[in-house]
């Protein structure tokens, strides 16, 4: 995809370029050849490149047509939803995905995902699935890859859980193999595939339809601990933290906290976080969060007793509606382009400090 196109998409995230792009993908997917591979993750494998392995399933042409149908149906539905006002937002790790939005991620900015995708560059060359125990235990997702007649590969990812495996599913499958009303339990290994897709990628564009599953597929929960530690360090440079190590340890225990902290430096409010503003909010909302003096510096104190409030405070979750003047606690926030009045107000606010 051309650079100006990508730039345009960033400027107008919910405008037509996405629609056209999805339309192109849907058209290309309708006639391409289909490969389905299973992705297995082994966190302790060495070297790190061997932590994710893919194996290809072999099937006949009617099965390929079914998978092709799943992809095209999803892309067509996405097109229709875009026409009905579905918003495409830039990916933000710590922000909850609303029902009326999908997210877009530029893969050039995410080296870790690109590394994981490298193996899928030539799906035909993947090893054939062999149902070995070590591969099965790490099974995390499957990928429907479509190679159009012209253009780049389209990869559609779906998070895998044991319900997709016939032998481990909580459902029991019965098949009419002998006819005349005899239904026998299926004891041969097999998979079930639903008609959902969690994320679609082509070239260096990733469209995220189900963020939670996307983060599980690409192991964000594993990387996020490391990112959270870095984010806490960055926060400490802006707002002195009395017990830095304790916050990092808490993030290691709680992946949801880690995700929110890891995304903090990329949030628009981060650059405006100051101790005085934090203290003002603590006082305004009468929050239990404490500060303490350490020499000449005032520091924010973390305690597990007020973990939720501490996190909401840092993530700027206490918001006020300018329409109704009601106050909310919201974890789903997207920065909007500031209005002229708001720009003037924030200039004044900055002047006040």
């Amino acid at each position: 995809m051309s650079k100006p196109f990508r730039k345009q998409m960033r400027l107008f995230p919910s405008d037509s370029p996405y629609f056209e792009h999805i339309q192109q993908l849907a058209r290309a997917a309708a006639t391409g050849t289909v490969t389905v591979s299973l992705g297995s993750v082994h966190d302790k494998a060495k070297p790190p490149a061997a932590r994710v392995r893919h194996q290809r399933l072999l099937f006949n042409e009617p099965t390929a047509a079914t998978f092709r149908g799943i992809v095209t149906a999803t892309l067509i539905e996405l097109q229709e939803r875009l026409q009905d006002g579905l918003r495409v937002r830039r990916y933000a790790g710590g922000v909850k995905q609303a029902d009326d939005e999908i997210e877009h991620l530029d893969l050039l900015e995410e080296e870790r995902i690109t590394t994981q995708l490298q193996q899928l560059a030539t799906p035909f060359a993947l090893d054939t699935f062999s149902a070995r125990k070590d591969f099965m235990t790490g099974l995390r997702y499957y990928v429907i890859s479509i190679q159009p007649d012209s253009g780049s590969l389209i990869h559609c990812f779906r998070f895998y859980s044991e319900v997709f495996e016939l032998q481990r599913s909580r459902w029991t499958a019965l098949l009419n193999l002998r006819g005349d009303g005899y239904y026998d339990e299926v004891r041969t290994p097999g998979f079930l595939f639903d008609h959902e897709i969690d994320c679609v990628c082509s070239d260096d564009e990733m469209f995220i339809l189900n963020k939670a599953k996307f983060q599980q597929i690409f192991r964000f929960y594993e990387y996020v601990q490391q990112d959270a530690s870095t984010a806490v360090q960055k926060l400490h440079e802006r707002v002195p933290l009395a017990n830095l190590e304790e916050i990092i340890a808490a993030a290691k225990r709680d992946s949801r906290m880690a995700i929110r902290l890891a995304d903090l430096p990329y949030q628009p409010h981060f650059k405006r976080l100051t101790m005085s503003r934090i203290k003002r909010m603590i006082a305004y909302r009468a929050l239990p969060v404490r500060t303490e003096m350490c020499g000449d510096t005032e520091m924010l104190v973390y305690s597990r007793e007020y973990k939720a409030e501490f996190l909401r405070l840092l993530c700027d979750d206490y918001v006020t509606s300018h329409m109704t003047y009601l106050e909310y606690e919201s974890t789903v926030k997207r920065a909007l382009k500031p209005s002229r009045r708001r720009r003037a107000a924030s200039t004044a606010l900055r002047a006040v400090g």
Binding site: T33, V34, A121, T122, F124, A125, S150
Partner: protein
């Protein structure tokens, strides 16, 4: 992917030319040899045609862009020279020589089906197939058996046969 019986059929098919030579040599001299060689030749030929057809029909292909390729003909010439021509001198009417030939064939069959030699088969060339070492995108190299002549930049449909061996399928 090929199972063991299919691999064995491929092995026997590679000896179809030798079976034909035996038929010519023993015609009118030893009918049992002629009958056995005819059966072997027919099984090998039909088996090969059936396997190549099923492999291309049973599995949905993947496709990849051909970056570069090299035709492999040396292996087949070596195979013919080393493993087919020496048998021509064997006398199949002599029991000792017959058993010796059988043992040698069994060893060869074992090596053929357990190592990556399935593409070395003179019958493939006789039936109009070409064997190429093809470099695809991401520097992936695979051995491809195909009926059509390859072109650089072409999107080739591929069906796995065994290990790194693929069958190139003509686009419908």
């Amino acid at each position: 992917m090929l199972n063991m019986p299919a691999r064995l059929i491929l092995f026997f098919s590679s000896y179809t030319p030798l079976a034909v030579i035996f038929i010519i040599l023993y015609l009118g001299r030893s009918w049992p040899v002629v009958v056995l060689a005819s059966l072997g030749a027919a099984t090998g030929l039909c088996g090969l045609i059936w396997i190549m057809y099923r492999a291309r029909v049973d599995v949905a292909p993947a496709s990849a862009v051909v970056v570069d390729f090299r035709q492999c003909g040396d292996d087949v010439m070596g195979y013919v020279a080393a493993y087919l021509i020496p048998f021509v001198g064997f006398s199949l009417t002599d029991l000792r020589q017959g058993i010796a030939l059988l043992v040698f064939l069994l060893v060869l069959a074992y090596l053929y089906v357990t190592t990556d030699m399935l593409h070395i088969n003179p019958m493939l060339q006789i039936l109009g197939f070409h064997v190429y070492d093809v470099t695809f995108e991401a520097s992936t190299v695979r051995r491809v058996i195909t009926r059509s002549a390859l072109r650089r930049g072409e999107l080739l449909q591929l069906v796995p046969l065994s290990g790194d061996l693929q069958i190139g399928r003509e686009r419908p």
